[in-house]
Amino acid sequence: MIHFDGVGKRYPTGVVALSEVSVRIDPGEFVFLVGPTGSGKSTFLKLVQAIERPTAGRVIVDGDDVGTLPAAGVPGLRRRLGVVFQEFKLLPDRTVADNVAFALRVTGADPAEIGPRVQWALETVGMAGRAGDLPLRLSGGEQQRVCLARAIVTRPRVVLADEPTGNLDPEAAWEIVQLLARINLRGTTVLVSTHNPTLVDILRRRVIELCAGRVVRDEARGLYQSAR
């Protein structure tokens, strides 16, 4: 599903964010991406979304080579990905349902399908009862669940979550990770970058650790602790 083959990323400023990274993530896997700040986690996720292009090696996402993908092909790739952000990025002037529907509307979905799919996504994350509320009336955990609903409403093949629990209390963080695990059980590949050791240790899923732009550990049922 996601294949990094000898990938390097050097920014125009000269900063080397990734160096010789080779990783293969298969369909249906649940992977934690860990490592200290500045280790290259965000660049890793940006490469998967084709926000950045590799300066060395190859990044293959769901069959597309990110390095050579023409600009016109990028939206198509992104429609197969669902993204969850640490800071939620919900539109404050739209209801929960409108925020979720937004992802479908701007990607040209059939208007007749939008309502049922939004309902399904909100039910999946347990927010169907708050569909008419504005995001500012929700707690942080609820906002992140809406963000997760927006990520899955397009039925993506991969869900990327960049520090999804960074702004949440432990209880809300645990709920979000459980939801991600449930989404993964349906066959969706899930890639989560995190600094939260408790969640990694409880879930015991594959852990890829980055340090100074290199993969220093890749364990099938890893712990956060041994990453230190």
């Binding site: 939206p75 429609r79 990025k89 539109l91 937004f102 509307r105 701007v106 990607t107 040209g108 208007p111």
Partner: protein, 315 residues
């Protein structure tokens, strides 16, 4: 074989249908998002449209003033003329020949003969104290003359020299110093008008582009999400371009109303209180001024949205 063929044709027919439906969905989405965007950001859209209206009125006003200055300059130039005086013994037939030759001169726009009797009447009309001249003098002392209008004052010397060389013409006057001043003045007026219009249009352009850029920047998170969920650049641009177009059109319509009403009132007042000042008729200047307004409003409205979006679509 026939069954397979007909199935294939059905598929071929269905594909354009799907494309048409997808296009209809895209157009519908872009339009509804644009209208929803204007409704959600009503205050900002109103502020932007008002700013654009003011900029357009100023630019349109500059254009109208400049056009009137050019018209005034043209009117001044049209009054520049050369007068040739005939010797007293030149018969009317010879004067007619001079008239024909003068009318054919390059640079001469019109020419007419003025008899000594007409010249005396004009003198008496202009100076009431001259009313008793025919009674005092034994005869009319004024000569017959020819008045020549010159289309381009810069050619007046050539016309005067040509006239002076003609048979029976004794003297030629054209007020060289006055003509030079008129030429310099009209040139300055035209250049100043063009520069002022260019500056005002330039300012309007910058104001409109920046106003729309601000409205786009205020919604950068919306654009960022659109880009990240896989909206095509056309889908991201569409609503913003439509909004820019609508804002530009509304501003142009408002500016049209203000400028038209303002010019009609001002032109009527100037015509009443300063009748000697040549003012362009509304029909002669407003169409061009309004074309500038609509061009600025709509094209710059669209362009401003595109420029504002460009940095957010780079990712």
């Amino acid at each position: 074989m026939r069954l397979a063929g007909s199935t294939s044709r059905r598929v071929e027919r269905a594909a354009p249908g799907r494309r048409r439906r997808a296009l209809a969905v895209a157009v519908h989405t872009v339009l509804t998002e644009a209208v929803a965007g204007l409704r959600r950001n009503g205050l900002m859209a109103a502020a932007a449209t008002t700013t654009m209206t003011i900029a357009l009125v100023v630019a349109g006003g500059g254009f109208v003033v400049s056009a009137n200055l050019a018209h005034l300059a043209g009117a001044l130039e049209a009054q520049v003329e050369v007068v040739g005086f005939f010797r007293r013994d030149v018969p009317p037939e010879a004067q007619e020949r001079v008239l024909a030759q003068t009318a054919a001169l390059e640079g001469a726009s019109a020419a007419r003969l003025v008899t000594r009797a007409e010249a005396l009447r004009r003198l008496q009309q202009t100076y009431r104290s001259m009313a008793s001249v025919p009674a005092v003098l034994p005869g009319n002392p004024l000569p017959d003359s020819i008045e020549v209008r010159v289309a381009d004052p810069r050619r007046i010397r050539d016309v005067a020299e040509a006239l002076r060389a003609m048979e029976g013409v004794e003297d030629v006057v054209y007020g060289a110093a006055v003509v030079d001043r008129v030429v310099a003045l009209t040139r300055a007026v035209r250049v100043a008008g063009l520069v002022a219009t260019a500056l005002l249009v330039g300012c309007a352009l910058v104001i409109i582009v920046n106003t729309i850029r601000l409205t786009v920047a205020a919604r950068r998170q919306e654009i960022e999400i659109m880009v990240l969920v896989g909206a095509s650049p056309g889908f991201v641009r569409g609503p913003f371009l439509v909004e820019g177009l609508l804002q530009g059109a509304v501003a142009a319509a408002s500016a049209t109303a203000v400028l038209t009403a303002g010019y009609l009132v001002l032109a009527a007042r100037v015509a009443a209180s300063l009748p000697f000042l040549p003012v362009l008729a509304p029909g002669a200047v407003l169409p061009a001024a309004l074309a500038v307004l609509w061009g600025l409003g709509v094209v710059v409205g669209l362009g401003g949205s595109e420029i504002g979006l460009r940095r957010y679509l780079a990712a």
